[in-house]
């Protein structure tokens, strides 16, 4: 079973058309690697959501803390954005693989770095304020 004969009959059924409608079937190992990359991005987004939920629990001890809740909500939303970026990144990479183009740079990576850095700075600021007051 070669790649060409395996790919051809299915090509009309597979979605999304913006990906499977262009180019030729790449080496299936590259497609699988691309899929694992998307899943790794999904788990990264999930880690942000889990961190946000954990922070909400933390904030609920004692009298409640609106600042921690705001940070937690932002972390959850960032995780959702990252999940969407995982999907759109998969599309862009699979398209580039099929067209034989160089892989596109991950657009969401700078945003993720900024978001995690901001998250850390907010928490450090919170700890310092707690220590001082």
């Amino acid at each position: 079973m070669t790649d060409a004969s395996a790919g051809q009959p299915e090509q009309d059924r597979r979605r999304p058309r913006s990906v499977y409608g262009v180019g030729t079937e790449p080496d299936v190992r590259f497609s699988l690697a691309n899929e694992r990359t998307a899943l790794a991005w999904l788990r990264t987004g999930l880690a942000l959501v889990a961190g946000g939920v954990a922070l909400t629990t933390l904030a609920s001890f004692g009298a409640g803390n609106a600042f921690l809740d705001v940070v937690a909500g932002l972390a959850c939303i960032a995780g959702g954005v990252l999940a969407f970026a995982a999907l759109s990144g998969w599309q862009r990479r699979e398209r580039a693989l099929r067209l034989g183009e160089p892989l596109p740079a991950p657009r969401i990576l700078p945003a993720l770095v900024i978001a995690v850095g901001l998250f850390a700075l907010l928490m450090v600021g919170y700890v310092i304020v707690q220590l001082v007051t």
Binding site: V28, L32, L46, G52, V53, T56, G73, C76, G79, G80
Partner: protein, 107 residues
């Protein structure tokens, strides 16, 4: 040298399937943790929603993954499903944070 799955010494389909299972398990655990947090914070409706989403998402994803193959047409739909699950979870988490803020402001 053969290319593709036939000449592949790296067990790519197995690795990808393990990656899928890891992700689905993580999403399910995340939803259950969100459910427990909601229960603790006194929001039984959100808690029930998160628990139902966890069960439905786990069942649906595992059922679809049975038809997963390296060139199957179902990859996109299951990828979309897990992505939507993570996004729903993020909305539930944000809703928990907002509910907590409202509780703090109006005790």
């Amino acid at each position: 040298m053969t290319t593709g799955i036939d000449g592949d010494p790296g067990a790519q389909p197995q690795r990808t399937m393990l990656s899928w299972h890891r992700t689905v398990l993580a999403v399910t655990m995340g939803a259950l943790v969100a459910s427990m947090t909601a229960q603790r914070l006194g929001h039984p409706v959100l808690s029930g929603l998160a628990a139902l989403a966890a069960i439905a998402g786990l069942g649906g994803a595992l059922r679809r993954l049975r038809y997963w193959q390296p060139t199957a047409s179902s990859r996109w739909s299951v990828l979309v499903q897990v992505t939507v699950a993570v996004m729903v979870l993020s909305v539930i988490g944000a809703a928990l944070a907002v509910a907590n803020i409202l509780d703090t402001l109006n005790p």
